[in-house]
């Protein structure tokens, strides 16, 4: 005798699970999207909207916010507002590069490892697990120190941290899909391995990646900021939020708060944008995961 698999209450409970979490999620996603897009816009239009040259001394040293320098000037007499606007370029650029590096590496390795299996798979999985469990920033600090400063180098140092995330998701999905019926069917009609991998498996796997993407971007912004804060990011005069925050930290005891407050605020804002967006779409696309 088989127990009834569903009854009214269970049916409703399952329905409800799918519906209720999206109520706040839509707002999260919209606000996140607005924050991200306005910062990207700011980065693109930087030369048009920045009032001063971000790397030239344009005022007295450490002027507090006034009508000429809305957010004040830093220790070298540069306009903080202009530096923040130009800083968006670095943040967006490095984040984008780092995420693309880790995404392409992680997805590719994950697909291969999961599909080929065997020794290669177990070794790769162990290595990725090791990197995944290791504190990311510490790894990035060492990598950045060994690679030296620069946009691409910093992006690589950050990318290494996130590669395992994509690798694990993709590999896990490939392993479960590999056994599923439609792949069996493709194999049965004589499809080649490569065809199966790229035509049948990858489209199914890739659909779940965007959710993680946005959340990792949030993380990457923080990691970049941390590397810059430690002086391991970009070479000196480049406007860079994390670096400016660190530079401003030195004046704190003299009650000079503006050189550190504003760049830091931008870091938090951009991270928040990515987090809200990622959180929102993940709940909308996949309510189970979002909860």
């Amino acid at each position: 005798m088989i127990a009834p698999k569903y009854s009214v209450s269970r049916l409703i409970a399952s329905k409800l699970k799918g519906l209720s979490p999206t109520r706040g999620a839509e707002y999260f996603a919209i606000i996140g999207f607005l924050i991200i897009s306005s910062i990207i816009l700011m980065a693109i239009l930087a030369p048009l909207i920045a009032p001063y040259n971000p790397i030239k001394k344009t005022g007295e040293l450490l002027e507090s916010p006034n009508h000429k320098f809305i957010l004040g000037t830093d220790g070298l007499g540069r306009d903080i507002l202009s530096r923040i606007i130009y800083g968006a370029r670095i943040a967006i650029c490095v984040t984008f590069l780092a995420i693309s590096f880790s995404l392409s590496c992680g997805v590719l390795l994950g697909l291969l490892s999961g599909y080929i299996g065997g020794k290669l798979d177990s070794i790769l999985a162990l290595v990725m697990d090791a990197v995944y469990s290791f504190p990311g920033l510490i790894l990035a600090i060492v990598l950045a120190a060994m690679l030296g400063p620069g946009i691409v180098n910093t992006a690589i140092a950050i990318a290494v941290i996130y590669t395992p995330t994509y690798f694990r998701i993709v590999r896990g999905l490939v392993l479960s899909l590999k056994e599923s019926l439609f792949v069996e069917a493709a194999r049965a009609i004589g499809a080649k391995d490569r065809t199966i991998l790229f035509r049948y498996i990858s489209p199914n796997v890739l659909s779940s990646v965007p959710i993680v993407l946005s959340l990792n971007a949030a993380d990457a912004v923080l990691t970049l900021a941390a590397l810059s804060f430690l002086g391991l990011g970009l070479p000196a005069p480049t406007p860079d939020w994390g670096f400016d925050l660190k530079a401003g930290h030195a004046y704190l005891a003299s009650r000079i708060w503006w050189p550190s407050t504003f760049p830091g605020l931008m870091i938090v804002l951009l991270t928040l944008g990515f987090s809200l967006f990622g959180e929102g779409i993940s709940e909308m696309l996949n309510p189970e995961l979002g909860r």
Binding site: A3, P4, S7, V8, L11, I12, K15
Partner: protein, 318 residues
């Protein structure tokens, strides 16, 4: 005899995005002291919801939307949360469908019992433990297993624990929701025999909720047949089997193999289960009914007493 439980025009609705699901709609019945009623219906007929609503434990987004519940003369609607809590487990208790999931996996079996005893009675832990041990013996579990965890028990043993938990405080009413359907047939009959024994020794009122009419009929004094959130037929068990009057009962009985009904042809009821968000205006069974007439489509039949103690909700009889 005084009624132990009286349900009058009970409505339990679930409020979801698509609309209001009328899981229980205008249900009335009563149970006498020590009586066992079998509540039978197919999946989605609202029988589980009805069971939970007696304890006022209908899960959100559902709630009791109307009607009255009297237990031992007390109006349950007037009891606040604290008073309801004192009632639950002590006067009305419940046996759940799946003993696998209805026990806390991190808690020893014995602790489930002592916890329940101590929640309702002022006793020392020692006394509670003694009581729990004698009870376990009563349902056929040896005392050594007192400190075992649920996962160390088989399904049947776990359901014995579930039953012990329900009767630990000698309640007046036990609601058992599909209490055997996750067990295999042999264990089912063992548990059923245990219930029969307990019914006699404890003189409890029981509501047995099940989709399996033949199983329920072995123990129930009366049978209530539910369909689409309503009671369609209500009769003494023997009377019901001798003379099931509703067309739905007829269809249901001929779709269940039963030793009490000889040389039957197994059949099924054609058509789809009813839509509870937009219930039909007339009789809810009418699209699947082979006796349906024009009036069935337009008017809802009343649940009327055709013979003494035999109620049917169908126009064929009035």
């Amino acid at each position: 005899m005084k009624n132990l439980l009286e349900v009058k025009n009970l409505k339990v609705y679930y409020y979801i995005r698509e609309g209001v699901v009328k899981a229980v709609d205008q249900v009335s019945f009563s149970i006498k002291k020590g009586e066992t009623v079998g509540l039978v219906g197919e999946s989605g007929s609202g029988k589980s919801t009805l069971g939970l609503s007696i304890l006022k434990l209908v899960p959100s987004p559902g709630r009791i939307a109307g009607g009255e519940l009297f237990f031992d003369g007390k109006d349950l609607a007037k009891l606040d949360n604290k008073q309801m809590r004192k009632l639950r487990g002590r006067w009305i208790s419940m046996v759940f469908q799946d003993p696998m999931t209805s026990l806390n996996p991190l808690m020893r079996v014995g602790d489930h019992l002592t916890e329940t005893i101590k929640a309702h009675e002022k006793v020392t832990h020692k006394q509670a433990e003694e009581k729990a041990l004698s009870l376990l013996d009563n349902v056929g579990i040896s005392p050594e297993r007192f400190r075992d965890y649920p996962h160390q028990f088989s399904g049947g043993m776990r359901q014995r624990v579930g039953i012990a938990l329900a009767i630990v405080l000698n309640p007046n009413l036990v609601i058992a929701d599909e209490f055997t359907s996750s067990l295999d047939v042999i264990v089912q009959s063992q548990i059923l025999n245990l219930m029969k024994k307990l019914k006699k020794s404890h003189n409890m009122g029981m509501i047995l909720i099940s989709h399996d009419i033949s199983l329920v009929s072995e123990i129930a004094d009366r049978i209530a047949l539910m369909y689409a959130g309503q009671i369609f037929e209500f009769a003494e068990t023997n009377a019901f089997f001798e003379e099931h009057l509703h067309p739905y009962s007829e269809g249901l009985l001929s779709s269940v193999p039963n030793i009490k009904l000889s040389n039957q042809n197994l059949s099924y009821i054609p058509g789809m289960p009813p839509d509870l968000i937009h219930p039909l205006k007339g009789c809810r069974f009418y699209p699947r009914c082979s006796y349906a007439t024009k009036i069935c489509r337009e008017k809802e039949p009343p649940l009327a007493e055709i013979k003494t103690g035999h109620l049917v909700k169908c126009f064929r009889y009035n």
